[in-house]
């Protein structure tokens, strides 16, 4: 498994890692910065991670995916720092013999990442900023 916190997401690197002659299917999810959120224009996002713990939690999720599906390879890469609208902030991916497992595992990886991995998104609008999800 390729599990990393990076400054800049590299899709080609993720695909290169996942692709293998024993796999017939690769599924990749890329999360990107939207220019609107809650009806307001987003200027930028800034991501902050508790890196050592984030890597551990991502590793646990990847292991859980391997227990649920028969997978060749798994990728989880999250960016930190300032990201502008359109830019990639996260990649999850899985390769497998058949496509169903790759799709299901890739979706599981991003769903779980959002629940437990200690990374925080600071959303900047023109006139204010919020830590996403912080308040009920």
């Amino acid at each position: 498994m390729l599990i990393r916190i990076v400054d800049n997401i590299n899709l080609a690197e993720a695909y290169q890692y996942l692709q293998s002659p024993t796999s017939g299917a690769v599924n990749l999810f890329v999360g990107t910065v939207r220019n609107h959120s809650h009806g307001k224009e987003v200027v930028k996002l800034v991501f902050e991670a508790y890196e050592v713990m984030a890597l551990k939690e991502m590793h646990k999720i990847a292991v859980a995916a391997q227990e649920k599906w028969i997978l060749d390879k798994i990728v989880m890469i999250h960016a930190v720092g300032e990201k502008l609208p359109g830019e990639a902030v996260v990649i999850t991916g899985a390769s497998s013999v058949h496509r169903k497992a790759a799709f299901e595992a890739c979706e599981f990886l991003i769903d779980e990442l959002k629940k437990t991995v200690p990374i925080w998104k600071h959303e900047f609008f023109k006139d204010n900023s919020v830590w996403v999800n912080a308040h009920p």
């Binding site: 713990m53 200690p118 830590w131």
Partner: protein, 78 residues
């Protein structure tokens, strides 16, 4: 010992770390209680977890053997 602070917790407490004496708190729950009294705005958050040695910790967990403690406000990666 240093309590690591992230995200909105860092903004509320006004620093990315806080010096604490782990021996003052028998458990994670006691530390959380003390923090929410010192920084009432923490009570307004959707959730606050504590990580001990970079693993999520239950409230009844001891802080003995803790070499790294962090406050984990609601995560929002992805």
């Amino acid at each position: 010992m240093e309590l690591k602070l992230f995200g909105v917790a860092k903004d509320i407490i006004g620093s990315n770390k806080l010096s604490i004496t782990a021996e003052d708190f028998a458990t994670v729950g006691e530390l959380k209680q003390w923090l929410s009294q010192q920084y009432p705005k923490l009570q307004q958050l959707r959730s606050v977890a504590v990580a001990v040695n970079s693993e999520y910790a239950e409230d009844n967990q001891s802080l003995q053997n803790a070499y790294e403690i962090a406050l984990i406000p609601p995560v929002s990666g992805g």
